[in-house]
Subunit: 356 residues, 2 copies
């Protein structure tokens, strides 16, 4: 297919020098797995911390394209990963829909206003009206793409509708997201209406991301694991499927439903290219469950990188053998901020030295 | 076997009027499932909140036998559940081992001192020396047993060694418990040494609980789900097995490894009577995985109780049919504090009206 190439021609008529990630996502056979890390543009890098320290807060970094581009490219320059992922936040979508958020240091996101009633849902800005608010994201993508100059592909992302819904109802992080889950039980029709609005807005947003340079799109369903299979199949999976359907002819799509161990078969039925795995999944069993239509991404325990570099390399190699192919090497979750760089480098180097 | 009867003779020579929980745990066929709720002695009851409001804090309630007995019995009187579970806290074990904790309102537990080095591990009080510190727990059990006067069985509990380890390293709750997991990767031998100490102390503690009236013991592995299967099998499951081995000839043992979806087969291989399921498990598939040696406990989504009572009753009945027998009805996690009592009653009543 290589439709991503057609797209990238829109704004950057250049071949990628390293397209191994996209070849795997598009089902091609490669000599070794590509590797990148969720949250690679972040606090593990001293260079990131230096940029961040000069700013008033996390959101200033998200909203300033030149700075977002800078930290997006840092791990490509410093760690040599096979992909960049645009520095941003999944919560720009609820904000564009009308719910401003604050990022509170050491605590996480907080929404002063939340969604509780039908009137709250009706009041939301949606679709292109909301997506068009996020020009700073698109500018960051275009600038990053230009500065990458074809070195590696650029990944765009969004939160999955259920995860965004959870924040919009709950108003911040939560151990249980019991308010959001209560809404599914008490107001199923209203829940679907809100999920539909988030979905349509996310599609408009991601199409803009693709138009501005994203070569692959990943959807993060960070709170997938707190839903029962029945609720996941009713309130989460169909909306992931809608987004994948709207995008997969333009760019490869990765679905990552963290901790939804029961959902692998359902995810693989969506029109997607890659399924992300957390570290509780066994690579071989996961492959049996999804068949051979999709690539798998993951899934080293982020805490493995705290071990000595030789142990990290050994664990990485064992993982690569367990996947055996059709695989994008990554952790099973975002890299933890206090991870030693030696461990990160040992992981990346082990993958890049590996040959099938 | 009915060994629990032999034990109960030690201090309370009376037959239980309602022993349906123990009959299911001991593999007998019953006319309907027994029902109780994790965290039933707690904030869902106005009567509990009234007791709690009169005190300086949560720990005063845990450490005052007359009050602990009072709130333990409240759900038996008010809700008519088929078992009482002693009001206590899994963190009394690390405290008895030398790490005092505070319970901070709306935040959770906090340990001013944590375990970081070998010297920290060596310094811990263990076994009977630690268990003998917890006389207030044993007194609460004996008093509860007396006041229950044989109405329903009394459940005793402890945290699983991995979960207690996680708190002792981390110093409190955590989204990732990455410090505790880092210890497993960086200091596996020291980790095993600490887990062994927690295990031996927990055995001494639970034997005292049984001697003072516990008719069944449940082990809560609350943070089981953040370990990979490989780490769970190395650092968690063997210690659960040791505790089950030490206790199962005296009383039935329930193992509840929340979110460790991959561990069911391994749990069923331990000498235990009941396996608890969180709400992401499908009852039929779980039964296929564990075979017919154990009863299953759970697993309604706690958020289901926010729905209208008729819907709660319907969902409960569907769940009971899906389990089909060898089943102790419960939620898939502790009942959330803001759950409406109408929902709680609808659940309990639906179970008690059900017939196989």
């Amino acid at each position: 297919m290589l439709l991503w190439q057609a797209n990238s021609l829109i704004f950057a008529p250049m071949e990628l020098q390293n397209d191994i990630l996209l070849r795997v996502a598009n089902g091609q056979t490669v000599e070794r797995p590509p590797v990148w890390l969720m949250r690679q543009a972040g606090r593990i890098l001293p260079e990131y911390r230096a940029v961040r320290a000069s700013l008033s807060g996390f959101k200033e970094l998200v909203e300033t394209p030149a700075l977002a581009a800078e930290v997006t490219i840092q791990p490509v320059d410093i760690l040599g990963v096979d992909a960049a992922i645009i520095f941003s936040d999944i919560l720009v979508i609820p904000e564009a829909m009308g719910l401003k958020y604050e990022m509170i240091e050491k605590k996480g996101p907080s929404f002063p206003e939340t969604i509780q009633t039908e009137a709250d849902v009706e009041r939301l800005i949606t679709d292109e009206d909301a997506a068009s608010e996020l020009t700073y994201v698109y500018d960051a993508l275009a600038l990053t793409k230009k500065q990458l100059a074809g070195r590696v592909p650029l990944i765009g992302f969004a939160g999955a509708p259920w995860t965004i819904f959870a924040y919009m109802i709950e108003g911040g992080g939560s151990k249980t997201f019991s308010k959001a889950r209560r809404m599914l039980f008490r107001e199923p029709a209203l829940s679907h209406r809100l999920l539909e609005k988030i979905t349509m807005t996310t599609i408009a947003y991601l199409k803009q991301k693709v138009a501005h340079g994203a070569d692959l799109i990943q959807l993060f369903d960070s709170w997938a694991g707190i839903l029962s299979p029945k609720l996941y199949n009713e309130f989460a999976l169909p909306y992931l499927g809608k987004i994948a359907t709207a995008l997969h002819e333009e760019v490869p799509v990765t679905l990552f439903a963290k901790d939804a161990w029961h959902a692998l078969e359902g995810l693989a039925e969506q029109p997607c290219n890659v399924i992300g795995l957390d570290w509780t999944q066994n690579p071989q069993i996961a492959r049996q469950r999804v068949g051979d239509k999709v690539a798998l991404q993951g899934n080293l325990d982020p805490c493995q990188l705290y071990a000595e570099p030789e142990q990290v390399a050994q664990a990485a190699t064992e993982m690569l053998k367990a996947f055996g192919g059709q695989h994008i090497a990554n952790l099973g979750h975002g890299v933890y901020p206090d991870t030693p760089l030696d461990g990160v480098r040992a992981f990346i180097n082990a993958v890049q030295a590996f040959r099938y």
